[in-house]
């Protein structure tokens, strides 16, 4: 007969085994759907490009990675920096940062407004914020086009009001991309901010006023440090998809104002340079990771990280 300890040990082993067995489907999905493709991308970026797209599987080559940063002159073989890629990279970063800052500036008052409503009205406001998600991104982007084009709602309104005499050309500029991204990503900023603000103890704000802090000081010294987790989460949720945006720059920025997402798409499509596309994708990922690490660490250092 087995001792009690023996039974307990076997029981424990069985539990561990069934735990793995039960989580196996999830693990398989995670591997196939997210980690697996990353390895494929990594492998592709180190292969030679095929003549009609695709890659030559057996052939190792650094050309993909090389052409992310450099270009070779077709006539005299001199090396120079890949200006086109770097300027697209720079534009993507710049537009994403501006988008994040603008959504934060617009989203914070919105979330604060919702969080200070009576409980049952709050739910209605949150519901209204989520309504844009019901429509496809492409359709929303085309709708934005109707707003900002020369004969669109915005220009017509401004001309009717007499603010401007001629329509301001917004379409196919960086401004158009910015308009589109702020519009599309704003809810992603508002929702986490609201979640943080809703938990905020408003008696602390009274305590701040009581201790001679004016409205700005209360915002800076009490509210912002306490809702920092929401600010960090919202910024990450906006910044990452902004950096990889594809549909918005394509529709609103026209063909000239590419962002990283469009450049990558180009390599897998018309460019027929899969290794370069793969290398660019991984560059984008590394960029996002570095930016996030920097941001999160910075946010944690400057006050609190608590709440």
């Amino acid at each position: 007969m087995a001792s009690a300890a023996e039974i307990a040990r076997r029981d424990e082993q069985g539990k561990v085994r069934s735990r793995w067995l039960l989580s196996a489907p999830a693990l398989v999905i995670v591997f196939i759907a997210s980690i697996g493709p990353l390895f494929v991308m990594l492998a592709y970026s180190f292969m030679a490009k095929g003549d009609y797209g695709d890659v030559k599987p057996g052939e190792f080559s650094l050309d993909g990675w090389f052409s992310v940063f450099f270009q070779r002159d077709i006539f005299d073989d001199t090396l120079s920096l890949a200006d086109a890629h770097l300027s697209i990279l720079w534009r993507s970063l710049r537009l994403s940062v501006i988008t994040t800052v603008l959504t934060l500036a617009l989203g914070f008052p919105t979330a604060y407004f919702i969080a200070t409503r009576p409980r049952h009205t709050r739910e209605i406001w949150v519901f209204l914020v989520t309504i844009p998600f019901w429509t496809n991104l492409l359709i929303r982007t085309f709708a934005m086009q109707q707003v900002i084009r020369n004969e669109g709602v915005l220009n017509t309104l401004l001309m009717w009001l007499g603010v401007i005499q001629e329509p301001i050309p917004i379409m196919y500029t960086d401004w158009a991309i910015l308009f589109g991204m702020v519009y599309v990503y704003l809810p992603l900023m508002v929702l986490p901010l609201y979640a943080s603000l809703e938990k905020l103890d408003f008696r602390l704000i009274e305590a701040g006023y009581d201790l001679y802090a004016g409205r700005l000081a209360v915002l800076r010294r009490i509210i912002i440090p306490l809702v920092k987790p929401g600010i960090v989460a919202g910024s990450i949720l906006v910044f990452i998809p902004s950096l990889g945006a594809y549909v918005i720059p394509r529709v609103l920025g026209g063909g000239k104002n590419l962002m990283l997402g469009n450049l990558i798409e180009l390599q897998f499509g018309a460019g027929r340079n899969w290794p370069l596309g793969a290398a660019l994708s991984i560059t984008l990922m590394v960029l996002v990771m570095v930016a996030m690490l920097f941001y999160v660490r910075n946010a944690a250092r400057s006050g609190g990280g608590h709440g």
Binding site: L204, E206, G208
Partner: protein
């Protein structure tokens, strides 16, 4: 201990005059405060006492600046502050929930007000050290506020509110979250701090015992009105209204007939037919009937004689004293509290026929 009739204006720290606070409009409007006037003197421990919903916290929040009166004026040392935001009033609050900033340390919490006032760093450091010493929290200065106990949180809240040296300190039921023993300790501490700092304290509580032991003066409130303002002695011994007498301590009410008023004292006839003299509440409106109030410890059970008589219904022993419930011949129950002494028992047996002797000047005629 009669109150001086008039206090010179210069000695009044906070004066609220004709304060009305109304929520909503029309016939369904709620009057949280209804024509409230109080004058709180400098360096006074003043208590707003009343059951929950009586408007005491609303009045306190109005003095702090979190709410604005619908009507009336609030003056701080003669200056009208009713329109000033809280951060422009030299008044600090100890909140019921303490409301300590969770993202700051104990030290940073106490320093907050001084930093907002733009005081130099050296001054802040020495002032914070001084305050932490006052509340015995020097060793926990670098703790986060979620790493300290409720009693310690209470001390930090107090130090934080006292650090900017306000002219008036408001305390909103600050002891209600503490257990009994800690509460007793903090009552003594608070009293000590008030006399050490010389700051006017306005204290809100629903605990009558707390109010009696700590206050210089008490304002008893009910349903948005101030019923009586006076020293603990006034409030306890000379209650003006039935609510005040009932809310504070235990008491006996007796219906009586008014015989006459002479030299500020009333002559009343008790239900037993015996006449006696009684003091009159402030603002007494003459009428033929009167309600008399007698504290249980101001009466004595005697074998025979006394102004009242009846049968002993119940005798309850409390250690330091004994409560004797007597069913009067007229049908009322009267309670007598007698201090126990080693040598003799209270001398009352259940069912015995006894007399009740009311001490001279112990009866008071109520206003209502």
């Amino acid at each position: 201990m009669p109150e001086p009739a008039a206090v010179p204006d210069s000695r009044i720290a906070v004066e609220c005059r004709g304060i009305v606070k109304q929520f909503g409009e029309g016939p369904r409007a709620l009057r949280a405060l209804d024509n409230v006037s109080v004058a709180i003197r400098e360096n006074e421990f003043f208590t707003l006492l009343g059951p929950s919903g009586c408007g005491k916290t609303t009045l306190l929040r109005m003095i702090a600046g979190f709410e604005y009166p619908s009507e009336g004026s609030i003056r701080l040392h003669g200056e009208d502050i009713a329109g000033l935001p809280p951060f422009k009033r030299p008044i600090n609050t100890v909140f019921q929930s303490y409301a300590l900033f969770p993202h700051l340390t104990v030290w940073e919490n106490v320093a907050f007000g001084l930093q907002m006032l733009g005081r130099p760093k050296g001054e802040i450091a020495s002032r914070v050290a001084e305050m932490l010493k006052l509340v015995h929290m020097e060793e926990l200065a670098q703790r986060r506020t979620d790493e300290i106990s409720g009693g310690q949180g209470q001390r930090v809240a107090l130090a934080r509110a006292l650090a900017p040296a306000p002219k008036v300190l408001l305390l909103d039921e600050p002891l209600s979250a503490l257990d009994y023993k800690l509460r007793k300790e903090m009552q003594i501490e608070l009293k000590r701090m008030q006399s050490e700092t010389g700051i006017t304290f306005i204290f809100v509580t629903h605990d009558q015992e707390e109010a009696l032991t700590m206050s210089d003066r008490i304002a008893v409130m009910s349903k948005g009105k101030v019923l009586q303002i006076g020293t603990p002695w006034d409030i306890y011994d000379k209650p003006a209204e039935r609510f005040v007498a009932d809310f504070i301590g235990e008491t006996n009410f007796l219906p009586a007939a008014m015989v006459g008023i002479e030299a500020g004292l009333a002559r009343v006839r008790l239900p037993s037919g015996v006449e006696m003299s009684a003091t009159l509440a402030d603002g007494y409106v003459p009428s033929s009937e009167a309600t008399l109030v007698v504290r249980p410890e101001h009466a004595r059970v005697v074998a025979s004689g006394g102004q009242l008589s009846g049968l002993v219904e119940n005798v309850v022993y409390f250690g330091t004293d004994t409560h004797i419930h007597v069913r009067l011949d007229e049908g009322f129950t009267f309670m007598v509290r007698q201090q126990n002494s080693r040598s003799q028992s209270c001398g009352a047996e259940v069912g015995a026929r006894v007399g009740i002797e009311i001490a001279p000047d112990a009866a008071q005629v109520l206003r209502d």
